[in-house]
Amino acid sequence: MASTDSKVKIPLHLIQARRMRHFYLLLMIFFMIVLILWVGIPILMTVMWSLVDPKNPWSYPNVFPPSFSLAQWKYVFDYTDIRRALRTSYSLAPLSVLLSLVLSLPTSYVLGRKKIPGKKLLMLVVLLPIIIPGMVVALSLSRVFYAFGLSQTFFGLVLAHTLMSIPYMIRVMTTSFQAIPQDVIDAAENLGANTFVKIRDIFLPMIRPGLLAGMIFAFTVSIEEFNLTFIIGTPTLMTIPTILYTFLGYNFIRTNASVVALLMMTPNIIMLFIAERFLKSDYLAASLGKM
């Protein structure tokens, strides 16, 4: 029997297939390493820059800093406006998320559930704030805001951030409203559900994931909004991005900028990993995959 014969020849195509598999595995491992380095190295470098010891500066021939200390962190917190900027940023974001939620819920309901003429155009209009470059919007809005006494005010910034986050919110929630099967609503109506019951028992539970996704996008948009804040808020109100910009501009201080950069991105990345757990489908692709 061939199977008991230890000297049986393995056919060449099987060997080739096995080699191919090994080669594919190697390729995959290589690819994974590249991906991890691609994202990891820039972040790691910034972490190192934020820990540079002022007594032993990190300069050209050294690949790694000679010693680490928390002096840069202490400096940034003690001598710059970062505390105020953090407070402004993190009180702006929830308020603008709330406002864009309130404004976009009814709109997304109509866009997602009703037959309305010119829906395609409206979906494009909704995208306008992210289509028109931020600096153009910011410079022209600064005049409007000034005329209404909104420039350099907290409420003005809330409005500006809402404007930038509302496109994501409406797009994401429209897709979730669209996904509700009409049968479920009809069945509820046949069983005598009124509007309140329908909202509580059908709409809210079914759009909850989309609602959360939209809120997360809106929150990150507000945290990273730069153009409008820079034009409308500076210098009275500094957020983390505008403070980072000052560290990258006239007085470029790499170590301070590293600290601010880390402060700005860490909460976002944590949020990403939390969001990954409960957001099963990709709302961003679903909502922006079509224009």
């Binding site: 991906l35 991890i36 691609w38 994202v39 990891g40 190295i41 820039p42 972040i43 470098m45 910034t46 050209y60 690949v63 309130v102 404004l103 009814p106 709109t107 866009l111 309305i116 494009l124 209009v125 306008l128 704030p129 289509i131 028109i132 470059p133 931020g134 600096m135 153009v136 919007v137 410079l139 022209s140 809005l141 409007v144 809402t162 404007l163 509302i166 496109p167 009409q182 990150t220 730069f226 153009n227 980072l244 910009y245 990258l248 501009g249 790499r254 900028a257 590293s258 950069a261 991105m265 976002n268 990345i269 949020m271 990403l272 990993f273 990954e276 692709a285 995959g289 079509k290 224009m291």
Partner: protein, 284 residues
Amino acid sequence: MKEKEISPIDILMLLSGVGFILLFIGFAIFLTLFQSFGLFSITRKSAFTLENWKAVLQAKEPMDSLFFSLKMGLLSSIGTVVVAFPIALFFRKGGTGKGILGSIIKVPLFIPALVAAFLILNLIAYHGLVNTTLMLLNLIHEPLRMLNDKFGWGVVFIQIWKNLPFVLLIVMASLAAIRDDTIDAAKNLGAGYWSVFFRMYVPLAMPGILVSMILMFIRAFGDFPITSVAGPIYPASMAVRMHIMATVFQEWDQAAVLGVIIIVTTFMVIWAYSRLAEFVKREV
């Protein structure tokens, strides 16, 4: 009892979101447009004039900026899609470790543009990691100038790094819609790797590729923070020039002209995209 008919309440509900956007964006667009023709001017008397357009169109700098921004938009959109597409294909086939890898690759999506610029700037600076490594390996004898370089490669690289996950998500969604049967059929009929790639995956994922390219182009074309941090000293990008024009030179009307040029270019690109998308759909 079907809730399909449109009522006045629906229009009111629609207005809460769309109205908010139209109010601000409409104001912004009309003000920019009028101001470019000298109406509602802040610095001068409000009167219709073509002087601002003449001044901008005849000067060399704004045109250089326009070409630079177009170049950045084009290179960033093509570059990101070219990098993202093979990765999206890799993620299409399931496997071990894909979940965590998928999360890691998405990290730049949640890193603000300005922070992304700074992260990459650390690497490509004159004495940054890339130059130091290349010097240690004796590949180069003098550090390369990658930051604030004349061409703008630094900007393109930052755009690709920052927007890769965004494009990846959209392309992956369109790749996921391709049925495995179709690919298997092509392979059975004798299609090799390359022809499966170029004649199956690429055309079938075209809608996703197009929309991500267009969104990337718009982002890179109108970008302010990344070019102002990592871009060349001359020419400035359109958004940077507009900002300088308005706040440094106090030429708000000429800045408005630049704004109109930016808006018109953006809309033209979107129009071209929608035509292209229709063309692609018609053929398939």
